[in-house]
Amino acid sequence: MTIILNGKETEVQSQTLESLVKELGHQPDSLVIEKNRTIVKRENWAEASLHDGDRLELLNFVGGG
C-alpha cells in the first residue's frame, strides 16, 4: 500500500506499525510515531493497522539547544 511517511509517498508491505518499524529497519526504542496526527504509543503498535493514504511521522530525539 502507499502511505505518506515523513512527507513522502512510500510503498510499504507492512500491515501494522510494529511490522513497519521492522520493515524499515529502525530501533523501536528510539522512535516516536504519529499516525494521522495522533500519537500511537509503542505498546499499541502491534494493533495499529496501516491503511492506504495514512500519514505517518516517524520521529526521534536528536541533539539540540
Binding site: Q27, N60, F61, G63, G65
Partner: protein, 260 residues
C-alpha cells in the same frame, strides 16, 4: 567547589542544584555529552525532535544522557504555536516528562524567537500541565504576559543562537530580572564563562549554554569552567557587591606613614 549554602533553582516545583542548563546540539561526538554533564554538574539538558533519517539507524540522543539528568525537550523547528504544541505533546508522550522549552522561530537569519507565537503556545501548554520554559526576545511586557499565561520561567536570549557574543541584550535582561516574578534564565549567545558569570552577577536565576560548550576544544573542561563561573556569579550576586565609585577610595589610611 562546594556550595556554601543551599540555594536551589526551582522550576515548576522541581529543585535543581545547578544553575547551569546545558544542551546536546553541535557536539563533535555524542560520547562527549555524558562526561560534560559529569564535570559540569548540570542537571537539565535540552534535546530536539526530528523525523528519523531512513538511512541512519544509530542510537538516539537519549541513550547518551544519564537518567539522573532532567530532559528539556525543545520545540525547535516550530514556526507557529500549533507546531510547538504538537511537538510538546509528542515529547511528553514519548516519556520526556513535563518540561518543555518553547522555541518558535520564523526568522531564519538571526533565529530570533517569535514572541507572540511563543505566548500562544505557552497559554495552551501551561493549561495542559506542562512546565513551560519559553525562549523569548527580551521584552518586559511580554515577560509579564508569559508569567500570566503560566510560564514557569522566562528565557530571554543574550545574543542570537550560536554567536558566542555574550550579553548583547544586557539592559533589557536587567529590566526583566528586576520586574519578573518568575526565574529568568539567560539562554543563547553566551560564549564564555565570564559572560555566564556576568549574567548571574546581574541576578539572573540561571543560564543555558549549548554552543560554547559543545564547540569548544574540550567540552568537559568547558562545562566545568561554565559551572564554576555560574557559581561565582551567583555567590557574588548574593554577597551584594559594593557600588562603583567616581573617585579613588584608599585601602589604608593616607596618614600615619613612617617619617623622618
Amino acid at each position: 567547589m562546594q556550595e556554601s549554602h543551599h540555594d536551589p533553582l526551582i522550576l515548576g516545583g522541581v529543585e535543581l542544584n545547578s544553575r547551569l542548563l546545558t544542551g546536546t546540539g553541535k557536539f563533535s561526538s555524542r560520547d562527549q555529552i555524558a562526561p560534560m554533564l559529569e564535570s559540569s554538574g548540570s542537571e537539565m539538558i535540552t534535546v530536539a525532535l526530528r523525523r528519523v533519517d531512513p538511512h541512519d539507524h544509530q542510537k538516539n540522543i537519549l541513550e547518551f544522557i544519564p537518567k539522573t539528568v532532567h530532559l528539556l525537550p525543545n520545540t525547535s523547528g516550530a514556526r507557529t504555536a500549533d507546531e510547538a504544541v504538537r511537538v510538546a505533546r509528542i515529547a511528553r508522550e514519548a516519556g520526556c516528562g513535563d518540561f518543555i522549552k518553547i522555541e518558535v522561530i520564523t526568522d531564519m537569519t538571526y533565529l530570533l524567537p517569535h514572541n507572540y507565537e511563543t505566548l500562544k503556545a505557552t497559554e495552551i501548554l501551561a493549561k495542559e500541565g506542562f512546565i513551560v520554559l519559553p525562549y523569548m526576545m527580551p521584552d518586559v511586557t511580554m515577560s509579564k504576559q508569559l508569567y500570566d499565561a503560566g510560564a514557569a520561567a522566562v528565557m530571554p536570549l543574550g545574543a542570537p543562537i550560536g554567536t558566542n557574543r555574550g550579553l548583547e541584550m544586557k539592559p533589557m535582561i536587567q529590566m526583566m530580572i528586576e520586574l519578573s516574578k518568575i526565574p529568568v534564565v539567560v539562554d543563547a549567545g553566551i560564549g564564555r564563562p565570564s559572560q555566564a558569570a556576568e549574567a548571574m552577577e546581574m541576578g539572573a536565576d540561571a543560564v543555558l549554554v549549548n554552543t560554547a560548550i559543545a564547540t569548544s576544544h574540550d567540552p568537559s573542561l568547558a562545562g566545568k569552567a561554565f559551572a564554576l563561573a555560574v557559581q561565582a556569579g551567583r555567590a557574588a550576586y548574593l554577597a551584594e557587591m559594593a557600588a562603583e565609585k567616581a573617585y579613588a577610595d584608599a585601602s589604608s589610611p593616607l596618614t600615619g606613614f613612617l617619617g623622618e
